[in-house]
Structure formats: structure tokens, C-alpha cells
């Protein structure tokens, strides 16, 4: 009988970790659903099914045990992050394509669970926004009230994608207005438009961001993530946006606007904290989080994409191995020498 010590093991498993991440997403999802309607729930289901199917195919091709890996929950987390970052009324095939690409290419072609150098959900987002820029920028106009049936019809392509759908995210709207207006608009006048904006950022989107924050804090409380990445992410995003906002409040939105817009909260707590593709040392996590926040700001404010979180995370994924290598903490008893 081969049974090495320790004989006692903590009750923990990969699926428990993944399930808790999904649970932590629920407050944000609830706020999201109340904002845009049941479409997001439909997208979550589509993405989940697509992820599981892709996972099953890849596991079979790679000769891995199906039951063990299909139940680990990692594909579901990827699927949910994709559904939550894609436009809620995106056609079903876009979500399926993104999810399949994430699972097949970004995950399994690199070796499957635990081996992917890039966050699969962010790879999906980047690939789709490059390949299908128009579809990836069509967000439902605020105040557009469609029932489940109408939304299903749009997602499944049975109804025409009417122009009313092709709104922009509040973040994108702000950027476009500031850029095109060439100084004729300033941030405060834009924010005063209560059709699009709420108290701090996009109307209703503030609550979604708040939901993610709540779920993220719960993950931290459960010790599934440490404080380093979210704090550094939020900190660097606040610092850079705060500095530019102080420099010119008419042209640059406040830190609160940036924190509560786009993928900032989701990125800080759920995406940049992905342990597989992120940094692992405490100092490395701080650098990683700060880099994500900084790059996200630069891309979303000065770049060509509506939001910068996905590219920021991917760029930092690229640097994570080197950061880890350079930030190895000193071991017990060697702190003076380090």
C-alpha cells in the first residue's frame, strides 16, 4: 500500500475553488441582469454549454479522463467571464466562437488546466474584438427594454440587429465624445446626461461594478485570492486617472468613473487574480496588478479600443514569468542575506 504522508488533507479541491469563484460572480450577474434584462443569463448558458462541449472534445482528443476534468469547473469560470465581458446581445455564434477559441486554443493547446500562459477569457475577448470589431462594440442602448423573447431572437439571429442596439458602453461614449468634440464637451457636461450616466459612471453599470466588488471581497475573505492584485490594480488605476483628472478635470474623468466603468472591477478581482496566468509571489502580484491597472487606463483613454482591461491583462500575462523570477521572496532564515 503506497500512501505517503500527510494522511490528513484539508477539504479542498479545484472544483471547490472554481465553484466559489462562480458564486462570487453572482452579485455582479444579478445587477447586470437587472440592468440589461435576461439576455445575460442566456449568454451565460450559451457560453457554459460551448465551454463544456469544447472541453469534452479536447479532453477526448488528448486522452484525459472526462469526468474528472469536466467537473473541475475551470471551463465554466472561463465561460462566465466571456459571457460577462462580451456585449450582452452579441449573436450566439460570437460567444460560441470566443468560448471555443478560449478552451481549445488558449487552454488545451497549451496543455490544459494549469498550463495556459494567458487568461483564456481575455484571449477570447481580444480575438473577437480584433476579428469582429463591429459586433463586439454593439451594446444595448441604455433604457432599451426588451423582453426575453425579443432578446433571444436577437441573440439567435432570428430578428434583425436594429440600430437601437448599437449603442456604446458609457466608457466608450465618453471617450468618443471627448475625442470627437475636440474640446467642445467636457466631462461634467457629459456626466450630466442622466440617460447614460448615473452618479459616478454609466447608469446601472455602477451597480454591476459594485456587485463584482462585493463578490471579490468575498473571495478575499475566503482566502481564494490575496489582496495584492486587486489593491494594486485599483490603486494604480486610481493613481493614474486621479493624476490626469487633477491636471485637467474637463478632459479626464475621475478615478471613481474609471473604477466603476468597463471591466475594471471584474478585472481587478476576477481576471487579473487568475493564478494560472498571473504572478504568484506577493511582490510579483503587486507589480502585476499595478501593471494591469496602468495599462488598462492607457489603452482605454488613449488607445483605439473601448476598454483596455483585456489587453492589459494579456500584456501582463506575458510578463508574469519574468516578474515572478525577479521577485522570489527570501526563505525562512535568509531574510538578512536577501
Amino acid at each position: 500500500m503506497f500512501a505517503p504522508a500527510p494522511f490528513l488533507l484539508k477539504d479542498a479541491s479545484v472544483s471547490q475553488v472554481m465553484i466559489q469563484v462562480c458564486v462570487a460572480l453572482i452579485p455582479g450577474i444579478a445587477a447586470y441582469a437587472s440592468l440589461v434584462g435576461p439576455a445575460i443569463l442566456v449568454q451565460l448558458v450559451i457560453a457554459t454549454l460551448a465551454a463544456l462541449a469544447a472541453e469534452a472534445v479536447m479532453l477526448t482528443l488528448r486522452g484525459k479522463p472526462l469526468a474528472l476534468f469536466l467537473t473541475d469547473g475551470s471551463a465554466i469560470v472561463t465561460a462566465w467571464l466571456i459571457a460577462l465581458t462580451f456585449p450582452p446581445l452579441a449573436p450566439w455564434w460570437l460567444v460560441v466562437t470566443g468560448t471555443a477559441f478560449a478552451v481549445v486554443v488558449a487552454k488545451h493547446l497549451y496543455g490544459g488546466l494549469g498550463q495556459n500562459p494567458f487568461n483564456p477569457a481575455m484571449v477570447a475577448f481580444a480575438v473577437c474584438i480584433v476579428a469582429f470589431p463591429a459586433l463586439m462594440s454593439q451594446w444595448p442602448s441604455v433604457g432599451l427594454q426588451l423582453g426575453l423573447i425579443d432578446q433571444m431572437n436577437i441573440i439567435l439571429g432570428w430578428a434583425p440587429r436594429v440600430d437601437a442596439l448599437s449603442g456604446a458602453t458609457p466608457l466608450d461614449a465618453m471617450k468618443t465624445a471627448l475625442k470627437l468634440g475636440e474640446g467642445s464637451f467636457d466631462v461634467s457636461t457629459l456626466l450630466a446626461n442622466q440617460d447614460i450616466y448615473g452618479n459616478f459612471a454609466g447608469r446601472g453599470w455602477e451597480w454591476v461594478a459594485g456587485g463584482y466588488l462585493l463578490g471579490g471581497l468575498w473571495l478575499w475573505h475566503r482566502q481564494l485570492i490575496t489582496w495584492h492584485v486587486p489593491l494594486a490594480f485599483v490603486g494604480s488605476l486610481s493613481l493614474i486617472s486621479g493624476a490626469l483628472w487633477l491636471y485637467n478635470p474637463a478632459q479626464f474623468a475621475s478615478p471613481l468613473f474609471h473604477l466603476l466603468s468597463g471591466g475594471a472591477m471584474l478585472g481587478a478581482f476576477f481576471i487579473a487574480t487568475d493564478p494560472v496566468s498571473g504572478c504568484t509571489t506577493p511582490r510579483g502580484k503587486l507589480i502585476f496588478g499595478a501593471g494591469c491597472g496602468l495599462l488598462a487606463y492607457i489603452i482605454r483613454v488613449f488607445g483605439g479600443y473601448p476598454d483596455g482591461v483585456a489587453f492589459a491583462v494579456l500584456l501582463m500575462n506575458l510578463s508574469a514569468p519574468v516578474i515572478d523570477l525577479l521577485t522570489q521572496p527570501p526563505v525562512f532564515g535568509m531574510k538578512d542575506k536577501a
Partner: protein, 578 residues
């Protein structure tokens, strides 16, 4: 007394499972049918057997003599007859055999004459010798001979003597019960260590889940009016690891590379070691029994005082194991191991026997890939990065595992305990360590072979050179002889025709000027070589006694007689350094 405690990073809190076995007093285990006493029971040299099959031995009679300084004697645990001195499986994960003395008890349990010593009246060296002869070794787990740890490190003042009563492993309660019931003798033993080491402070660390033991130890310290501090340390596995306890009590971090904690001015002993040291000093009793916990999948868990060498299955029967018991775990569930078979004997370092059953220790779920969650790194008390070491150990990139300080790993099992992917991390680290050790041995062997080969090459070349020189010499001698003969012949001719006296010489010179020049060169070279050889004499011929000189001269004479040339100097460098 309040004192400032320190924290070590990491650690885990597994369910303690101590309540099952700590509510009953220590019981005396009955005499077993036979005793199997392994000779190798401590770190260091294997004691040599000094008895034979058929000998009658008394309780406490030495049966294995310490081999070297880091080694401790082994004794007969009871009186009886030696059945055999033979190889038996010892309680070790390897399942390998080792030399054991098998004794059939005669039931009289008759002691040898015990000779206590007054440790204050005799020099420390005598106390060390006494402890070594009584077989006192660390009972906390490693089994390091106690006397080896009682000499202060040179040049480092002994600041703290730490007594380890933490007992952080789940299930084990033998130190708890020892402190509750025999605190007085434990404290006296600590005083012996104190007298030998002369530390500035004595700290007794006990995890705060043992309030009775803490109270008993405090009472004993007060009763003996000793200035020892009994400190309740937070319950957190592995607080009982020597380096963790040092950290908690003193704030010092002993690096993994440091062999002895004495180099940091601190020394740690287990409470059980202090107790047996006192029995040895005050009563002259060698270490023939110890207290151990029998628990796990049994009806009646309890602590027993057990003779060393008692087969484990006989002990487990005392606690009435449940029918689904499928193995015996020696030590705690975090660092212990399943013994190779149930008949293996209890040794000095056996602190606990746990009846194993799947009900208690469920079979592990299948191993999943590492998701780099870092739970292991947060749990590691030595602040290592287990997932990185795992990655490299799995890839057999052992150099990298060493860069990540794999030898600082104390194999406490915290990383495996928390891993959500169920990776047996400690196993990977043991594998990597043993591979590195094996490679080190191979490398040493290869280096030695290389040195041998190089020396052989050098020797062969030297012999070849010697031979060539010898041939050259012989040829030169031949040429000289011929020249002499030719000269003699010429002289004879000259006698006949004196008028032409100078002509033949001139003729020879003109006939062979090149040969002459060559001969001169060879002779000059030989003279230089000879001068060099004489200048470089082997060192061992200096300062010889007349007798040795005579012997050497005789040999030299025989060599010359046998036409052997004078020996070359051994090292080639000597000639170069001329």
C-alpha cells in the same frame, strides 16, 4: 509571566484528534512475547552488537556499543535470553532490514546494577559519556544522540535552551501525558541540560491546547524554584518543529543550511529526552522504554509506557483496533508513515501508533494539475514556493529545485495538506532530494574514477620516459665504450708509427664530427637530468634515523646492483617549480 511571542509564516490547523487518547493516565504495557531491538535507533554510527545468541541478558544491559561520537548505546529492555542477532525489518518507510537483537523475556525483569552520577560533581565529558552509554537520544522524532547537542558551539554564547513540549502533530499525546504525570522529573532533566549548556534563558514551549500539561509544568518549575519560563504557544502546526519553535519563542530564524541551531546560540530538546536524561543521571537507567500513544481506528486509545523492541501488533491489540484497520501508522498523520509490516518493533523515536483505516484517512482523490493558486506557498512554514519546486521536480530539473531551496524543506506536509489539486508535494520533494543525493554520490564516484585514470595515465607516461632515458643511457655507454676501444686501437697504431701520431685522432674527428657533437649533447642533457633528480629528493628521506638510513641505503645499493636507475620524484610539479 508575559513574554513577547513571535510568529512564523504559514502553518495549518488540521483537526487535532488529541482528545481521544489524553483522558486516561499512562498505562504500563504488558511484557511482550519477544523483543526485537534494532541496533540502529539513532542518527549516527550503528552500535556494534556485544552479545551473542544464547547469552542471558539483564534489563538495561548494554547489547550494542556506541560506534563513534555521534552514536548512542542500545540496551536490553528486559532480562531474558538472546535468541538471535539477525536482520529484521525495521520501522522505516524503506521497509529495509537492519541488524536486530531478538530477546525472549524471562519474565523477571531483573535490572543490572544501575550507577547514577552526580552531574554537578563530575566533569561534563563524564556526563556526556554517561548519557551516551545510557543510549539517551532525542525522543522528539529525529533521534539525535543527546550528548552531541549538549556541547555549546565554539565562539557562540548559548542564549536560550528551548524545551519542546509543543507536540503539534494531530493524534499524538505522549508528551502531553508525560508532562502531566511526570513534570517533576522532566524539569529535573531540563536542569541537567541547563547545567551543561549554561544558557542565559530556559524556555519551555507547549502548545496552548494542553492546559493541563502547562499547569503541571509550571507547578513543577515553581516547586523546584527554577527560573524556567513555561510558555503557552499558539496551536498551529508545525509549531513543534525545532526551527518554528525557536522562531516563536525567540524570534530567531535558523536558516535551513545551518546544521546546528547552536550556531545561533539556541538548542532544543524534547521533553521526553529531558525525562530520560534525568532517569539516566539520577537513577542510572538506560533508555529501555518510552511513552507512546496508541490511537486511531481503535476502541480504547491510550498512552502506554512501552519497552523498546515491542512488536507493534502486540501493542495495537491493547487498544482493540476496529476490524477495518488496514495498517499501522508510526508517528503522526502529517509526517508519519505506514510501517512495512505489523510485527516491526517500537524504537526510541516511536511516539505514536495510529491504527489506519480509510474511514479515518480517506483515500486521496485523484491528482489534478497544479493551478498555481499559491495555497502551498502561503502554508509553507519555511516560506518556500512549493509549486515552483514541484514544477521543476516533476520535470527532473533538480538544479532548479535547489535554486528554489528545496533542502530547506522540512517535509512537514503543510503544502500537501492544503493543495486543492491533491498533489502529493512532499513526495515530489523527497524524490528530488534523493535524486540529488544519488547524483552527488555518482558525481563523487566519477570524480574519483577520473582522478584514478589521470594518475594511471601520468604513471604510464612516466614509465615510458624512464624507459627511453634508460635506453638512451645504455646507447651512450655503448658509444663511449666503442670510442674508447677505437682510441685504444689508435694508440696501439701510434706506438707502431709515432710519426703519424696526430693523424688518427684527426681522422676520427674528421670522420665523425656530427656523432661527436650529438654525444656531447646527450651527455650534457643526462648530466642536467641527473642534477635535477638529485636536487629533488623525495621528502620522506629527510631526518631519517640511522637505522632507516641504513635500510634505505641497502635498497639503493641493491637497485644500483640490479642496474635500476634512481627513482623519479613523485609529483611532476616539483620539477617545474625548480
Amino acid at each position: 509571566m508575559l513574554m513577547n511571542l513571535f510568529k512564523f509564516k504559514g502553518g495549518v490547523k488540521p483537526p487535532s484528534n488529541k482528545l481521544q487518547s489524553n483522558h486516561l493516565p499512562i498505562a504500563q504495557a504488558p511484557m511482550p512475547s519477544r523483543l526485537i531491538v534494532p541496533l540502529h535507533q539513532s542518527i549516527g554510527g550503528t552500535p556494534r552488537p556485544i552479545i551473542q545468541a544464547g547469552d542471558h541478558v539483564l534489563k538495561g544491559q548494554m547489547i550494542g556499543q556506541a560506534d563513534g561520537w555521534i552514536s548512542a548505546a542500545v540496551h536490553a529492555p528486559t532480562s531474558g535470553t538472546v535468541l538471535e542477532v539477525a536482520m529484521h525489518v525495521r520501522p522505516h518507510p524503506s521497509g529495509l532490514d537492519s541488524l536486530c537483537v531478538v530477546i525472549e523475556p524471562d519474565g523477571k525483569d531483573e535490572w543490572i546494577t544501575r550507577t547514577p552520577i552526580d552531574h554537578r560533581a563530575v566533569p561534563p565529558a563524564d556526563v556526556f559519556h554517561h548519557l551516551q552509554q545510557c543510549g539517551i537520544v532525542g525522543l522528539g522524532g529525529a533521534g539525535f544522540p543527546a550528548h552531541g547537542k549538549l556541547t555549546p558551539s565554539k565562539g557562540v554564547a548559548m542564549d536560550e535552551l528551548i524545551i519542546n513540549g509543543a507536540e503539534c502533530e494531530p493524534f499524538i499525546t505522549c508528551d502531553d501525558l508525560l508532562m502531566r504525570e511526570r513534570a517533576d522529573e522532566v524539569v529535573r532533566g531540563i536542569a541537567v541540560f541547563r547545567d551543561l549548556l549554561q544558557p542565559k534563558k530556559v524556555l519551555i514551549g507547549i502548545e496552548d491546547n494542553k492546559p493541563e500539561a502547562i499547569a503541571a509544568m509550571r507547578a513543577a518549575v515553581d516547586a523546584q524554584n527554577e527560573p524556567f519560563s513555561v510558555v503557552a504557544v499558539p496551536t498551529l502546526y508545525p509549531a513543534g518543529g525545532a526551527k518554528q519553535l525557536i522562531r516563536v519563542l525567540t524570534g530567531k530564524e535558523v536558516p535551513g543550511s545551518m546544521r546546528s541551531t547552536a550556531d545561533m546560540g539556541v538548542q532544543v530538546f524534547n521533553v521526553g529526552t529531558a525525562y530520560s536524561a534525568w532517569r539516566a543521571v539520577a537513577h542510572g537507567e538506560p533508555l529501555v522504554s518510552r511513552i507512546l500513544t496508541i490511537t486511531g481506528n481503535v476502541h480504547a486509545p491510550r498512552n502506554y509506557e512501552v519497552l523498546i523492541g515491542t512488536p507493534m501488533d502486540e501493542l495495537l491489540a491493547l487498544a482493540q483496533p476496529h476490524p477495518d484497520t488496514d495498517g499501522i501508522l508510526m508517528g503522526g498523520p502529517m509526517m508519519g508513515f505506514l510501517v512495512p509490516n505489523p510485527q516491526v518493533p517500537v524504537v526510541k523515536t516511536t511516539n505514536c501508533l495510529i491504527a489506519h483505516a480509510d474511514r479515518l484517512f480517506p483515500p486521496k482523490a485523484p491528482e489534478m494539475p497544479c493551478i498555481r493558486c499559491g495555497a502551498c506557498a502561503r502554508a509553507c512554514p519555511h516560506e518556500l514556493q512549493p509549486f515552483e519546486m514541484y514544477w521543476f521536480a516533476r520535470a527532473k530539473n533538480f538544479g532548479k529545485t535547489q535554486e528554489y531551496n528545496i533542502f530547506d524543506c522540512i517535509e512537514c506536509g503543510c503544502c500537501s495538506y492544503v493543495c486543492p489539486s491533491r498533489i502529493p508535494l512532499v513526495q515530489y520533494f523527497r524524490f528530488a532530494k534523493s535524486e540529488i543525493w544519488a547524483r552527488e554520490r555518482e558525481k563523487n564516484a566519477a570524480d574519483q574514477a577520473k582522478t584514478r585514470f589521470e594518475f594511471k595515465q601520468y604513471r604510464e607516461e612516466r614509465e615510458k620516459a624512464d624507459k627511453a632515458e634508460k635506453l638512451a643511457k645504455a646507447a651512450a655507454a655503448q658509444a663511449a665504450k666503442k670510442a674508447a676501444e677505437a682510441a685504444a686501437a689508435a694508440a696501439a697504431e701510434g706506438d707502431a708509427t709515432p710519426s703519424a701520431g696526430a693523424a688518427p685522432d684527426a681522422a676520427i674527428a674528421t670522420v665523425n664530427p656530427e656523432k661527436e657533437a650529438k654525444r656531447a649533447t646527450i651527455e650534457a642533457a643526462m648530466a642536467r637530468a641527473k642534477a635535477q633528480r638529485e636536487a629533488v629528493q623525495p621528502k620522506n628521506v629527510d631526518n631519517l634515523t640511522p637505522d632507516q638510513q641504513k635500510v634505505a641505503d641497502d635498497i639503493e645499493a641493491r637497485r644500483v646492483a640490479a642496474h635500476l636507475i634512481a627513482p623519479e620524484p613523485v609529483a611532476p610539479d616539483n620539477e617545474k617549480s625548480e
